[in-house]
């Protein structure tokens, strides 16, 4: 115990010594996270010659910092201009962007930064302390259990549909149908690809994300002078530090919410193959379910912004756990880190902490220090970043469209993806104008293929026996929890109405 504490202290000191690497990397991460199509994973790949030239610890600090900062950065355009840069930030604009339109963009950014940093820092500490235990989660969360986890996220469609049941369900089913395009996961048979090679691997997420959210929004805001409401314009005329601190305070007073939702992210993050998109939707759905004011979600509700941001940063620390303890990368960025670390002679797996404990602890320490530094360096920037919302839409809308089209192009470098983003933009525009919720479509597009993968895997394992869905104890507990979380909002609502009737 004493030896571990001494080692941790020594690793902390070493990590702090790399502040000069971390601070510029934080800004690099914010930029790549904020640009749709870029991510920590592809940036590490692009900069791999540089990373390989660094010594082991510096390379590790660089990659981990970039990973954390990119995750946080993805929330910035999602909040300010409705462009989620990654699938992990897809739930962020649900409440972040309405806050911006109300002229509370500065507060929204502060809330996002504080939730991300505290959520990330807290889950890093938990992961560090409970690593062996957390690594076991993957041993219990198999295909059947993951189907139920997916359904938690997909049930958000039902919540959205509650406002207009038929339209909500149609939008959700449309999303699921779009999500089923591509080759099947068992025999690789193409379905619904319409002969386009570009759709063999399914509908690419970034064009769908930016098209449905950002391009369609650009078509709508062009009809106005600025994206802000009248009240919002007044609020944004005199940005002040007070608004930044108000956001910080609003996030801090909801610390329990940050803790709870970031732990959801951590637990989902430690499951190999699960990712930030699942975590952010599940956290949002859970936050809404247990809220006393579920009707406020989607209108610029603070808890609705905290939940996905805390959760997707919880995933960041979670993905390191299977990598370090089991040698299995939990996500794409962790997989790239594995390649780089292997070049440095690090062999991940159960004996890593016996052979090179400084590497294992060093990664978590780098994560903790980078979250601390981010809190200090990024929060003050919210005041200046939020000014983008005051740009007249005649400039902003074309900028959004060109920015997002480039973002759609970047991950695969296909012109097709730019056309696809435009097509999703038109679809999103029609949906908005006719009262269909684009978020319901998007949930289907993002979570549908994942649900199908786990579903087919479970059926293949059971040789087609559908009762396999109820064959595991943890799975059954999750089923009950799912049913409860679907019923609870109605129960709360009924109780609230009864209370209102009793109270004169």
């Amino acid at each position: 115990m004493g030896d571990t504490a001494a080692l941790l202290f020594s690793v902390l000191m070493d990590t702090l010594g790399y502040w000069w690497v971390m601070i510029p990397t934080i800004f690099l991460g914010l930029i790549v996270g904020g640009i749709p199509g870029f991510s920590a994973a592809n940036t590490i790949i692009i900069l791999m010659p540089l990373t390989l030239a660094m010594d082991l610890q510096m390379g590790l600090v660089f990659m981990v910092t970039l990973y954390c900062a990119a995750r946080m950065g993805a929330g910035i355009p999602a909040i300010l201009v409705n462009i989620p840069g990654t699938a992990g930030a897809a739930a962020t604009p649900l409440d972040g962007y309405p806050m911006t339109k109300q002229g509370r963009g500065q507060q929204a950014l502060s809330i996002s930064f504080v939730s991300s940093a505290i959520g990330g820092l807290l889950t890093t500490i938990i992961a560090l302390a409970a690593m062996p235990l957390l690594a076991r989660v993957g041993f219990y969360m198999h295909a059947v259990e993951m189907i139920v986890v997916m359904l938690f996220g997909i049930s958000l469609i039902a919540s959205i549909a509650a406002q207009d049941m038929i339209k909500g369900l149609i939008a959700g089913f449309l999303g699921l149908m779009i999500g089923s395009i591509g080759t099947d996961v068992v025999y690789a048979t193409p379905r619904g690809t319409m002969g386009f090679l570009e759709l063999y691997d399914g509908v690419p997420l970034i064009p769908a994300l930016v098209g449905l959210f950002a391009v369609s929004e650009a078509f709508i805001i062009i009809e106005k002078k600025v994206i802000l409401s009248k009240k919002g314009q007044e609020a944004m005329e005199n940005p002040s530090w007070a608004a930044t601190f108000e956001g910080v305070r609003e996030a801090l007073v909801r610390w329990k919410h940050i803790v709870w939702t970031s732990i959801i992210g951590l637990v989902i993050g430690v499951i190999p193959g699960a990712g930030a998109s699942i975590a952010s939707f599940v956290a949002y759905q859970q936050s809404r379910t247990f809220s006393k004011t579920p009707e406020k979600y989607g209108t610029g509700h603070i808890e609705g912004l905290i939940a996905p941001e805390s959760a997707n940063n919880g995933v960041t620390s979670g993905t390191l756990v299977p990598l370090l303890v089991l040698g299995i990368p939990g996500g794409a960025t962790a997989a790239i880190m594995l390649v780089v670390m292997q070049y440095h002679g690090v062999s991940f797996g159960p004996s890593l902490f016996q052979r090179q404990p400084e590497v294992g602890y060093g990664m978590f320490m780098a994560m903790a220090v980078s979250y601390l530094l981010m809190m200090l360096t990024i929060i003050p920037l919210s005041r200046y970043m939020s000014r983008v919302t005051t740009v007249p839409t005649i400039y902003l809308a074309p900028m959004i469209i060109s920015f997002t089209l480039v973002g759609a192009f970047v991950p695969r470098e296909y012109m097709f993806d730019m056309y696809l983003a435009l097509a999703f933009g038109v679809l999103g525009y029609i949906a908005r104008r006719t009262g269909y919720h684009v978020a319901a479509i998007l949930i289907g597009v993002i979570l549908g293929p994942l649900l199908e993968t786990y579903f087919l895997r479970a059926l293949k394992k059971s040789e087609g026996d559908i009762t396999v869905l109820f064959s595991s104890t943890i799975g059954n507990i999750l089923w009950v929890a799912l049913v409860v979380s679907l019923i609870l909002p109605a129960v709360f609502d009924r109780r609230r109405k009864r209370k209102e009737l009793v109270t004169p």
Binding site: T183, V186, A188, D201, L326, G327, A335, I336, G349, K460
Partner: protein, 332 residues
């Protein structure tokens, strides 16, 4: 002044030679300066996997011979099909675009489902390594030996994680089932990382995969059987050859990573293609390759150069094997 020009044979030949040389000069100059820019490499699997590791190790040396860098593009999906379809459908056949694939599972794929292009329209010209497939379990698995697996498989159907249905390792385990009467249910887990994860976390009873990825997983896994010769001994837990254990005559179930090229490119630009081949061979002569390969987690015993002929033989063998096992691997 009257000047009479006589076109005799000598004048004709020398004029023709000069004209040909003049016309050919730009081409020759181009050939001499190839490559003028980086080479794009289409990788039909995700970044961070075994192919990515091998690609980076090999091209880190090859680029010093060729004088330009290699730029990878990752196109995973549909068991490698996406990468090949994109390469054949989108990349210019000009020797500046190559594909780095696995001649085992990816060629098997063509036997399961024909691609939209003719499989002879591309060919492999540079084999980097060859490694056999293996049976392995997670470190905490109750199965200690392959006999434990077979015995249990004779009582109940065991789930077997595989990177994809059409994989040499899948054929190996089906052949073992045929031989011993054990029942195995193949579960495609989409990629090497997930296949290792499936075995480690108990999602499946055990997994089969290319041994290089299993070695890279370190002590998180234990290898119990090799579908071929165990060339690395302890690193595969001294697991034995299937033929040795069960008295079978199964051909080695191999994966072989290799660079491929459009046939049209090699035919239209023979000088460029020759330059690629020369420098590929030079790379193997450089001792730095072994260092880079080992540093990337590769087993040096698997490094094995193969040229156009060896690769063609491998490809043909895989197509034949695929045709034989097609009904079992497609559920048909």
């Amino acid at each position: 002044m009257n000047r009479k020009t006589i076109l005799n044979r000598r004048t004709f030949l020398s004029t023709s030679a000069a004209a040909s040389l003049t016309l050919a000069t730009p081409g020759l100059l181009r050939a001499n300066t190839f490559p003028e820019r980086n080479i794009d490499v289409y990788v039909p699997t995700a970044e961070g996997g075994g192919a990515d590791r091998n690609f980076r190790a090999f091209t880190s040396i090859w680029k010093t011979k060729l004088g330009v860098d290699f730029e990878p593009g990752y196109y995973p999906g549909a068991s490698g099909r996406v990468g090949y379809e994109i390469y054949m459908g989108k990349a210019e056949p000009d020797c500046y675009s190559l594909i780095f694939g696995n001649m085992g599972p990816e060629v098997l794929n063509w036997a399961m489902q024909e691609p939209t292009f003719d499989v002879d329209d591309y060919f492999y010209f540079g084999q980097v390594d060859v490694d056999p497939s293996v049976v392995f379990v997670g470190a905490e698995s109750p199965f200690q030996t392959i006999d434990d697996i077979v015995a249990e498989g004779q009582k109940r159907t065991l789930t077997v994680g595989t990177s994809r249905m059409a994989h040499p390792a899948s054929i190996g385990i089906l052949a073992l089932g045929d031989q011993t009467g054990a029942k195995f249910n193949l579960i495609p887990l989409a990629g090497g990382k997930n296949t290792v994860a499936g075995a480690v976390t108990g999602e499946v009873d055990f997994s089969v995969l290319t041994s290089g990825s299993v070695i890279a997983a370190g002590d998180a896994v234990r290898t119990l059987l090799v579908f071929g010769e165990n060339r690395v001994g302890e690193r595969l837990n001294n697991a034995k050859n299937i033929n040795e254990v069960y008295g079978m005559d199964l051909p080695e179930m191999l994966s072989a990573r290799a660079f491929g090229i459009h046939r049209a490119a090699a035919e239209a630009y023979p000088d460029r293609f020759a330059r690629l081949q020369e420098t590929f061979a030079e790379t193997f002569e450089d001792p730095a390759l072994l260092e880079a390969y080992v540093a990337s987690g590769g087993a040096p015993e698997y490094l094995r150069m193969g040229g156009v002929e060896e690769c063609a033989k491998f490809k043909a063998a895989m197509l034949e094997l695929g045709a034989k096992y097609k009904p079992l691997l497609t559920g048909a």
